[in-house]
Symmetry: C2
Subunit: 359 residues, 2 copies
């Protein structure tokens, strides 16, 4: 059952502060001696032509499919997978309409934006009010190679959060270059859809900043926009696709009616399930019954009650794998909400007294 909430259904510490972008795991690949060699190995597989292992899931055909799926992302949103903002399809600027379109009210504006976003390629769309807590406390300038103040060029009124579904069959082959192709296809579609939605908003006379992996934390924004809950695997779990989505967000000065955050039992379910923790080849997902307020990695954003995954372990496996891994997405019972595994765990969790949110 899906329950709507008036406030973020997440426990947040009073002294919570968003991490600096430079501390995200990918950008650490540019300056942190521990991460640089790992990231170089991932990049090599990502950008260069190297004959793949040749075993099932790692053949030349699989590598070609991966390269093809990622091709638009690679060419049109340079380094965005590492967090580089304001480039290519994710440009913060673009030709604008002659005058600002007016709407009856925020609800009408939201309805129009959502319909347009779906037409233009979004699988799910939600609206969040602007909340500076989810913006990196400083941004990383890829050209300067240093942190810069996080400051938008205009006053943000609303954030449109879009989920792009990953191909199920390809994703379920994780870890393999085929599941990396599913990620890549979704990344390319994020870029394509982001550019289209930004163009739509600009033609209505407003500003739009489409973002992939840059600028702000996507998952809390998606939770705030009512798209789902956070799971043990640290990912957004949606009622429609489970964690099998990639997230795109568009910051705009167009005032929109925000959606309400939802819960549908994910938190309780994840306490017992642990399938992602068992399936993670990097042992990067905790087995603890309950979520905590503190991460253990520089790249964790502490101060939120959740399960903290270990990004260093995660990407170390990517480097070894020759491509990103989607095990924690593929194995999640929320991919198919009515599977035997899901039903069983839901039965079991009924016995856990009290929702974690009301502890």
């Amino acid at each position: 059952m899906i329950i709507e909430h008036n406030t973020m259904p997440v426990v947040i510490a009073d002294d919570y502060k968003c991490i600096e972008q430079k501390n995200t795991i990918f950008i650490r690949g540019l300056w942190d001696p521990e991460i640089i060699p790992i990231m170089r190995k991932i990049e090599e597989a990502h950008y260069n032509l190297k004959l793949p292992k040749g075993t099932s899931g790692y053949t030349t055909l699989d590598a070609a499919l991966k390269a093809a799926a990622w091709s638009i992302c690679m060419q049109c949103t340079p380094k965005n997978e590492y967090g580089c903002a304001n480039k290519g399809f994710y440009d913060w600027d673009g030709k604008k309409g002659l005058k600002k379109e007016t709407f009856a009210d925020k609800s009408e504006a939201s309805l129009i934006i959502k319909n347009a976003a779906k037409f233009l390629g979004a699988n799910l769309v939600g609206i969040a009010e602007y909340d500076s807590r989810w913006i990196y406390s400083s941004w990383y300038d890829f050209e300067k190679g240093q942190s810069v103040p996080a400051k938008f060029p205009f006053k943000i009124e609303s954030v449109i959060v879009v989920a792009i579904e990953m191909d199920q069959d390809a994703c379920f082959s994780s870890p393999s270059l085929i599941s990396s192709a599913a990620s890549g296809l979704a990344y390319s579609q994020m870029a394509e859809t982001g550019k289209k939605i930004a163009t739509f908003i600009r033609m209505l006379g407003y500003n739009a900043i489409p973002c992939g992996n840059d600028t702000a934390l996507s998952i809390p924004l998606a939770v705030q926009a009512g798209l789902g809950e956070v799971g043990r695997n640290g990912m957004l779990i949606t009622p429609q696709y489970g964690p099998r989505v990639r997230l795109l967000k568009i910051f705009t000065d167009l005032p929109l009616q925000a959606d309400k955050p939802i819960t549908f039992g994910v938190n309780k379910f994840c306490m017992k399930c642990r399938k992602c923790a068992q399936t993670c080849p990097a042992e990067a997902i905790p087995f603890d019954l309950k979520p905590t307020m503190e991460g253990t990695s520089l790249s964790n954003c502490s101060g939120i009650l959740k399960w903290y995954t270990n990004p260093e372990k995660c990407i170390r496996f990517w480097a070894q794998n020759g491509g990103d891994c989607s095990n924690c997405i593929a194995c999640c019972p929320y991919n198919k909400w009515s599977s035997w595994h899901h039903n069983l765990v839901e039965k079991v969790t009924e016995s856990i007294g009290g929702d974690i949110l009301r502890k």
Copy 2:
């Protein structure tokens, strides 16, 4: 019922010759005094910011949706909608794999290419053997502003023909800026998918030339590739979507198993139906019972037994409309093959003795 054929199920004159690209209606907009002002008006609506009419289907919202849907095509395949080849996503060149992938046989190669193409965004895929009859007898160089010899940089073995579905609801609003958004979205998807498929082929060590509206006639290639038949409206009619598709083709030196052309009663059906001719606001589609061997316009490619539409009348309406028109797509009963209208006409055409192909 779908019937497969060993040869092109189309009557072609002995002296048939493909038209020169410069005579296609869009390129005539660059040199033909009759077409220049019409094309300029279309371009103005397409590229510039001009307040739209404001009536239903022509509001600022509709214009914004159109601009958004076309945005990737406009930015990443410059002037391809007019026929400009070898630019942006339709580049003829790209990073290639280190060695040529080998396949058990042509059938295996075809199966792999088709599966990859569908994964990467194709709604329908067919393979045609290379047939020089469908290549423009000369190409048009947009930079030089003149015809150049039609000569591929490598020996073409196969042509992959891809159909991209147009959004049905948006298309059915034709003529409007919303139906133009459906065209634009499909054009953008053609470009995105073309680049991805070309990348896949190149990573397997082969050459790939992805083409939208350039280089060759898309419709006969699609017929040859078994994707459908030609209708009275001059468009490809597919069993799956009727004429509601846009076509992309990829020329390659990878040897592939060709598909067989199909017929499924379109020719006979179109003789009686005439719905597109009645619905065309430009009166550009003939009402004649039977198809002919000769077009009446410089932009028709004569020598093929079919109904010849009038491209001058067609685009004159586009200029007046402020965007392309899809009436002849939207009204076609093959959009929904089991509609009452379709069944009725099929009943009526049963009385017409002899298939037109066996005349």
